[in-house]
């Protein structure tokens, strides 16, 4: 094995890669599906209300706004900028605060405030923003709330939203298209074009060739799954741990891709094989879609050890210790596939 | 007097610094088959491209059927047929669809694709997609496509290269049929035997220049050597080869000496080939 040769082969894969249909497929399809899901389930339109502020002074109002998590707050340098942003729909309501706003409020004088309202803003957002801004101003004016709020979150069953249920499915697409299909299709294409035979009579070993193809899959799969989670705003708090899990998942998928690519003859057989393996790959994600199915069934499938840790990190804030067991199984699977690959490499050495 | 179908005057083309065709001049009479012979990279295809209006000459002029090709390429193209070296057919369309498309583009009325397909030996395969054709069948379709407009001049670029003997023979027969119809044929080929069989005249092109242009017979007369080759039993009991060049003053004496002094096992006379003449003229082989 030579790092220089792997580097050379890797460079070739990346230069040639973007012309490969599978390469485009691996990047575009998970993105389009993510976006469609966000649109269909409406989460893309269910943003927080957006408040714009053009503060000529340094008002307490602006500080209160900055501290809130209920709204998206954007600050603008001038009234003109705020007006433009509101007209374009960048904020739902834009409030212009004069430089002496705080003094006017605390002195009890009637103060006039200009509020730009984007014509397309929702009534409920307008109402929420109006109530909140009024409360902030009352606080500044020294008014004391006449109520003491006792907040109770009722103990009912939490309905898992559809976008959360479907996320593992799209995630698995990112893993399989990027990690598995790219190395597999690339290997099969090289076999069909007889370029693999040409490579195998150079000093490059089969290990070099497999490593280069695998690395492309690992890179694409890791990046794409991170992008999918980012798009769905489910990166969670432990991004580094999540990236690590996704990297391991990508290695597992890439190993599987190289194994399949080595064993099948042509592109049609590759698609047939992947179709046949589809259930094995996607079953845990499908089981997750339907909570009524006993969830323990998913544990039988190898990809459960990819999906489960990712879900635990992104949706339940799990830490390394919480998912160590599952990751251990994933590592064993990676080693087992690695062993199989080593055996195949020995066998394939004299085939081309 | 026979009219000239093709006149090339001082035709020149260069790809950057590389002179592909270097001031060549020749003409082809109506109804004649001219073989254009030369190794790869000699300038054959560039010449064809200039003659058929696909390339504008850097210098010189090509006239086909009395029309200046550079000035009126479309007028010329309406009256010629071109069979390219590499198959460029619509593979996902049927043979008939391919022919009908080109017939429409040439404005041929009452075009009978089936009849043409029958002529090239593709009857019964016309409705099949071209992608399912063998190399020989594709080449026959290429020739058929070049014939859809009943061209007055037919350019054939390596039409039989790499084909099985049956397909090659079918195409050669078609070429002769077309000549009988009155078409002029410009045949580019590597195959000297084919050129010898089909062409009234052949031109040898090498490094962009025409090094010889005449009838195969005259070329053989002019440049070729007829020989006799004999195998004789040597003193050591092994066979030895002797070669005697014919048509010389001393030839009869040499033949007499051969039979007198040695035990002749086999004896053959050998004609000069165009290939040997080409090697003699250019110092390289036709590859």
């Amino acid at each position: 094995m030579s790092l220089r040769r792997i580097g050379l082969l890797l460079h070739r894969e990346f230069v040639r890669g973007p012309k490969n249909f599978m390469f485009i497929f691996a990047v575009i399809v998970p993105l389009v599906l993510s976006l469609t899901m966000l649109l269909v389930f409406g989460t893309l339109f269910a943003e927080k209300p957006r408040l714009g502020i053009a503060d000529a002074g340094d008002s307490q109002f602006t500080h209160s706004a900055a501290a809130t998590e209920a709204f998206t707050v954007r600050k603008y340098a001038s009234e003109a900028e705020l007006r433009d942003a509101t007209a374009m729909g960048a904020v739902d309501i834009g409030v212009v605060l004069p430089s002496d706003f705080d003094e006017s409020v605390s002195s009890g004088k009637t103060t006039t405030v200009t509020a730009y309202i984007w014509g397309g803003s929702l009534l409920k957002d307008r109402a929420a923003l109006a109530a909140t801004t009024a409360t902030w101003v009352r606080q500044m004016a020294g008014q004391v709330s006449p109520v003491n709020i006792i907040t109770t979150v009722l103990d009912g069953s939490v309905v898992l939203p559809w976008e959360d249920r479907l996320l593992p499915l799209i995630l698995m697409m990112g893993v399989t298209f990027g990690g598995l299909m790219i190395p597999a299709s690339s290997l099969v294409a090289e076999k069909q074009q007889h370029t693999l035979a040409a490579l195998s009579v150079t000093p490059a070993t089969m290990v070099d060739i497999y490593a280069a193809k695998g690395l492309v899959g690992v890179t694409i799969s890791t990046v794409m799954t991170l992008v999918i989670l980012g798009l769905n705003r489910t990166l969670g708090n432990s991004t580094l741990l999540l990236a690590g899990v996704l990297l391991l998942s990508a290695i597992f998928a890439a190993e599987a891709g190289v194994v399949i690519g080595t064993l099948v003859k042509d592109i049609d057989s590759l698609f047939a094989t992947v179709k046949a393996l589809g259930l094995l790959l996607y079953a845990p994600a499908l089981i997750y879609v339907f909570p009524d199915i006993p969830q323990w069934i998913a544990r039988v499938f190898p990809t459960y050890y990819i999906i489960h840790p990712v879900i635990e990190i992104t949706q339940h804030g799990a830490r390394l210790a919480d998912i160590a067991g599952k990751l251990g199984v994933l590592l064993i699977l990676i080693l087992a596939l690695g062993g199989l690959l080593a055996l195949l490499t020995q066998r394939m050495r004299y085939r081309h | 007097m026979t009219e000239l179908a093709i006149i090339a005057e001082d035709l020149t083309y260069a790809y950057g610094q590389l002179m592909a065709v270097d001031h060549i001049s020749f003409d082809v009479a109506e109804g004649e088959i001219l073989g254009f012979l030369g190794p790869n990279g000699a300038g054959k295809s560039t010449t064809v491209k200039m003659l058929t209006g696909q390339l504008l000459p850097k210098a010189g002029r090509a006239t086909l059927l009395g029309i200046d090709v550079a000035r009126h390429p479309k007028q010329v193209q309406a009256q010629i047929g071109v069979c390219f070296e590499v198959a460029n057919l619509y593979e996902t369309m049927s043979g008939i669809d391919n022919l009908e498309l080109f017939a429409s583009l040439f404005g041929v009325r009452d075009f009978n694709a089936e009849a043409l397909l029958k002529r090239v030996g593709l009857d019964g395969r016309g409705k099949d997609k071209v992608s399912g054709y063998s190399k020989g069948l594709k080449q026959r379709l290429m020739v058929a496509r070049a014939l859809v407009n009943r061209p007055q001049i037919l350019f054939l670029d390596e039409p039989t290269e790499g084909l099985d003997p049956t397909s090659a023979q079918a195409i050669r027969s078609l070429i002769l049929e077309e000549q009988a119809r009155g078409a002029t044929i410009f045949l580019t080929t590597h195959d000297m035997h084919e050129a010898d069989m089909l062409c009234q005249r052949v031109a040898f092109i090498d490094r962009g220049k025409i090094v010889a242009l005449d009838t195969p017979h005259t070329l053989k007369q002019q440049y070729g050597k007829r020989t006799i080759r004999a195998e004789v039993l040597g003193d050591d009991g092994h066979l030895q080869t002797r070669e005697i060049i014919l048509d010389r003053q001393e030839t009869p004496a040499e033949i007499e000496a051969l039979f007198r002094d040695a035990e002749v096992v086999t004896i053959h006379s050998e004609e000069a080939t165009l290939e040997s003449i080409f090697i003699q003229l250019t110092g390289r082989e036709l590859i």
Binding site: K19, A70, A87, L123, K124, R126, T152, L154, V159 | L105
Partner: protein
């Protein structure tokens, strides 16, 4: 060059297009799935927020506030009924005021009010429900706010007649239809260049102008028919059909120009796909500005498809007058002509 030649070329391109199974499938499936996505998406916007309220006696100032508020209220007869409504998901939150609210207020005591929340309410939104409750309490207690709001609505006020998500989605679907055709045409041309069939066409009486005219007419009409079909099926032609169809026709010509450009840059079919995907991403961007207003700033106007998207969106949803649409249509036509000319020049260079 004559009409017979052009129609022969168009016929040939149609045959070739549908003999490419991938694009034929994408074309048909695309239309079906785009239509399905459209009808799956919400047809209306629920811009009101309904809250639960239990209050034995509603004081007059609050009654007035509730009447003029943009919020809607479900009046529960008892705290249990309120709790049930929250648990069953009828309302996300409910306020339960004590029966002796007015007595406590008159004594100047701080009143304890229960805020009952559904377990499905995200934590960051709790603040909004609390703020609304506080604002009610201030009103009930008679504390006034010395602020005069000068409210200015920018753009058409869509309150109560919001554009439905699926209507916002329609320009994206239309552009996607056009772009799939663009990719199909670019691949078709690239395949013809790669196979050398264009060379064969150009050696007939067909001129280069005729060839481009054939391809241009085919590409434009094919893209136009499909996008018009999509818009018709989804009911987009109910308002200003002539304006929308004109914009789609110009847009179809524009993507045909883009297809010429892509075909001229790609060396083979795969690189055409690579460049094509880049073009798709670029031309789709303006549709996101419709989906999520305020996402992009004025730079979006540099992208040619902006004028198509803006015209069809406003014509379908905002009764765009012809006078206002003229500028968009002229710019779209200029872009279409420029892209077509550039594409023809580049492709001509490649063919030579």
């Amino acid at each position: 060059m004559n009409a017979r030649m052009i129609s022969a070329l168009i016929g040939k391109d149609l045959k070739l297009y549908f003999s490419n199974r991938l694009f034929a499938l994408v074309t048909v499936l695309g239309l079906v799935s785009y239509t399905a996505i459209y009808f799956l998406m919400p047809a209306t916007v629920d811009e009101t927020l309904e809250l639960g309220l239990y209050m034995a006696n509603v004081p007059a100032p609050l009654e007035a506030l509730l009447a003029e508020s943009d919020l809607r209220f479900y009046r529960a007869d008892s705290i249990d009924a309120l709790q049930q409504a929250v648990l069953e998901g009828d309302v996300p939150a409910g306020y339960a005021f004590p029966d002796d609210l007015l007595v406590q207020l008159s004594r100047g005591e701080q009143v304890s009010v229960q805020l009952l929340l559904s377990p499905n309410v995200p934590l960051e939104f709790v603040e909004i429900y609390e703020v609304i409750l506080r604002e009610f309490a201030f009103v009930i207690s008679g504390q006034t706010l010395d602020i005069e709001m000068n409210e200015i609505v920018l753009g058409p006020d869509m309150a109560g007649r919001q554009v439905a998500p699926r209507q916002r989605m329609l320009p994206l679907l239309a552009v996607l239809v056009l772009m799939v055709e663009c990719l199909g045409l670019a691949s078709l041309i690239a395949a013809e260049v790669e196979a050398g069939t264009i060379q064969a066409l150009l050696i007939t009486p067909l001129t280069m102008v005729g060839l481009f005219l054939g391809k241009g007419v085919f590409g434009t009409l094919f893209a136009f028919v499909q996008s018009a079909l999509l818009i018709t099926i989804t009911g987009g032609l109910l308002h200003q059909p002539l304006l929308i169809l004109t914009a789609l026709l110009f847009g179809s010509a524009m993507v045909t120009g883009v297809a010429f450009l892509i075909a001229s840059t790609g060396r083979d079919l795969m690189s055409v796909m690579g460049w094509g995907v880049l073009a798709v991403i670029l031309l789709v961007l303006p549709t996101f500005n419709v989906l999520m207003p305020g996402l992009a700033s004025n730079w979006i106007k540099l992208i040619p498809s902006h004028y198509l998207v803006d015209t069809i969106y406003r014509a379908m949803n905002l009764e765009l007058p012809w006078m206002d649409a003229t500028q968009n249509l002229v710019l779209l036509l200029i872009y279409a002509a420029a892209l077509m000319a550039l594409g023809v020049v580049m492709l001509k260079r490649k063919l030579r």
